[in-house]
């Protein structure tokens, strides 16, 4: 019994990080209907940036979020302006965004591979290999810190969306783009801003990932596949669905990994995806898709 509970604890301790990783993806899809295939590639960029400041200046990866987030925020806004600003009126917008971000992921992968080589990397702060003892259980410090920080960032995001004027404009754009424009929301600017925020969140989760998992340039395919499965499960574009889905899948993956071995745990995400498509194609929290 105790061992099983321990597995659940380990899963839950990662759930927050998964939620943070997927939150940017959800935000970007919600506001702009962009399926950002390059999201995990931006996570890798965040991880490499954190790795670089860690090895170069001995800055803790958690602290380095303060550097990583602004850098990726600006990068994200620039990418949006460059690639997506001009295709907003395209007839095949949805598939164009997928193909463009897919191509973007290849570019990022190629460039990081060239600059950083394909060597497996991790940052190694002290807490990465330490754990808290709680009687019969233990919680790895790295996972706990990462999840707490993720919850803080997600909380800040929710507050921002709920209580600020810009946040309300973002939510309005998610609900109805045309109507938001009618009541005076500058949709083009809100889109650019949201893309920047989403990429910054990807960067933050990348910095946290840098001491939780080893990473290399082409690793982003494994991550993006799982994260995309996760947001389909949650109902695409729903932040609440994403967080619930992240928790559920993180715990399920830990249990599967315990029962069948760690190589099978990614299968949890994909099987959950096919399962939800059979039962409820719009996802847990989703509305019926409109096209």
């Amino acid at each position: 019994m105790i061992e099983h509970l321990q597995v659940v604890i380990l899963g839950a301790a990662l759930g927050g990080v998964y939620a943070l990783m997927a939150s940017g993806l959800t935000l970007i899809f919600g506001v702009m209907r962009i399926v950002n295939i390059a999201h995990a590639a931006f996570m890798m960029l965040g991880a490499y940036l954190a790795f670089w400041v860690f090895t170069r200046f001995q800055i803790d990866p958690i602290v380095s979020i303060v550097i990583v987030m602004p850098v990726l925020f600006v990068l994200g806004m620039a990418v949006y302006r460059l690639l997506f600003g001009r295709i907003v009126d395209s007839q095949r917008y949805a598939e164009m965004t997928v193909l463009l971000t897919f191509a973007l992921a290849l570019v990022i992968e190629g460039v990081t591979g060239y600059v950083a080589t394909g060597v497996y990397r991790t940052t190694t702060p002290d807490y990465a290999t330490d754990a808290f003892d709680l009687g019969p259980f233990y919680i790895p410090k790295g996972q706990l810190y990462a999840t707490v920080l993720s919850v803080v960032l997600l909380g800040a995001l929710v507050m921002f969306l709920r209580f600020t004027r810009t946040g309300r404009a973002i939510r309005a754009t998610t609900q109805n783009r045309a109507a938001a424009q009618l009541v005076g929301v500058n949709v083009a600017w809100i889109s650019t801003l949201t893309f920047g925020i989403g990429i910054a969140l990807a960067g933050a989760s990348g910095a946290l990932m840098s001491f939780l998992f080893s990473f290399f340039p082409s690793k982003h395919w494994q991550w993006i596949a799982s994260l995309l499965a996760l947001i389909v499960l949650g109902g695409m574009g729903s932040l609440a669905g994403t967080i619930v889905g992240a928790m559920l899948l993180s715990i399920a993956a830990a249990v599967v990994s315990d029962l069948l071995g760690p190589t099978w745990s990614p299968a949890t995400f994909f099987l959950a995806l096919f399962g939800i498509l059979m039962v409820r194609p719009q996802g847990l929290f989703g509305k019926r898709p409109e096209a």
Binding site: F29, V98, L100, G110, V111, W221, M236, L277
Partner: protein, 336 residues
């Protein structure tokens, strides 16, 4: 624009007036079939045979992908799953039951068709982004399954029996096999384009709700197109596995293979018959030059991505599509 009832009963592409036009594809195929004589007579053409069979493989795959990604407008990023499944089915049949690849490769195509039906049934319940995501999940799941399948070598892969041929003629069976698969794939693409199925698929690409309302069995058509698009990719995977003489999940279930296929179809022109063929030839050539020049696989990946970005932003209809829209598509490329 060719209307569907122009569809000919005779071999392609003979629907237009002018005899020469009807004959030239046959001429090209005959020339390609005769080409290896140079190797037999003079030798030293193994490099060219290799490049050409590689191009044939991608012609077959891009044309197949185009059935669902081009005609129906359902972008799949997971079609290399069929490539890997085809490779493994052929390899297993050869290694464990000693079945000749002449039989096992087509069988692999059938297996891919059979797998495509239920997968299509599930994934095609959604459209747009969720569909694309589920195709990636399909690829990842297939790779994971074979990574963990110890009887097929797991993540380390497995070796296949060596084809016992002298160096001079070693490439020939593979050359002809890939040529046959490519011709069959392009022919299938042509026939689908000019059939009721093809018309239905194009209607789905334009407006699925209206197509459904007009009485087109959209669900059935999509699933057939999806399964059909796996057939030649599976066969190509089977032949390629035997050619490499070993199978490994990291080689056969790469998302980069999918990227390559999609890119070829886009560069050439999605939804046209000639487009994927053109794109495949151009990109196999460009790839060879890039590898020779840059020599580095990482920069090669970045270049591929940058090329894809450029084409998507400035020529989203591809070469054949753009030329067609301007009314400047040479007749030699106007395959309907």
């Amino acid at each position: 624009m060719t209307r569907a009832h122009d569809a000919p009963a005779t071999p392609p592409p003979g629907n237009a007036p002018g005899r020469g036009r009807a004959l030239w594809p046959a001429g090209v195929v005959v020339a390609l079939a005769v080409f290896p004589v140079l190797q037999l007579a003079a030798g030293g053409f193994n490099y060219w045979l290799h490049m050409m069979l590689y191009a044939f493989m991608y012609i077959a795959m891009a044309s197949s992908w185009n059935l669902v990604g081009g005609f129906a407008g359902y972008i799949s990023l997971g079609h290399s799953a069929f490539y890997g499944i085809g490779g493994y089915v052929t390899g297993a049949l050869m290694t464990f039951w000693g079945i000749s690849p002449v039989i096992s490769a087509p069988l692999a195509g059938l297996v891919c068709f059979a797998i495509g039906l239920p997968v299509g049934l599930i994934t095609l319940r959604t459209r747009g982004p969720a569909f694309i995501i589920s195709t990636i999940a399909l690829l990842m799941l297939a790779k994971l399954a074979l990574d963990n399948c110890e009887s097929l070598g797991g993540a380390d892969g497995m070796s296949l029996p060596l084809p016992n041929l002298p160096v001079e003629t070693m490439k020939l069976p593979f050359y002809y096999a890939m040529l046959a698969i490519a011709v069959a794939a392009v022919y299938t693409s042509y026939r689908v384009r000019h059939s009721k199925l093809g018309l239905g698929l194009r209607a789905i690409a334009c407006d699925e709700v209206k197509a459904e309302a007009a009485g087109i069995p959209t669900r059935l058509y999509k699933i057939i197109a999806f399964a059909l698009s796996g057939v030649y990719i599976g066969m190509a995977g089977g032949v390629w596995g035997y050619y490499l003489t070993y199978l490994k999940p990291t080689i056969f279930f790469q998302i980069l293979t999918s990227a390559q296929i999609v890119l070829m179809a886009i560069v050439g022109g999605r939804g046209t018959v000639a487009g994927p063929v053109l794109g495949a030839i151009l990109l196999v050539g460009a790839d060879e030059l890039l590898v020779a020049k840059l020599g580095s696989t990482e920069l090669n990946i970045a270049a591929k991505g940058a090329l894809m970005l450029g084409i998507l932003m400035f020529f989203p209809e591809g070469i054949a599509g753009t030329l067609k829209a301007r009314g400047r598509l040479p007749r030699i490329l106007d395959w309907g």
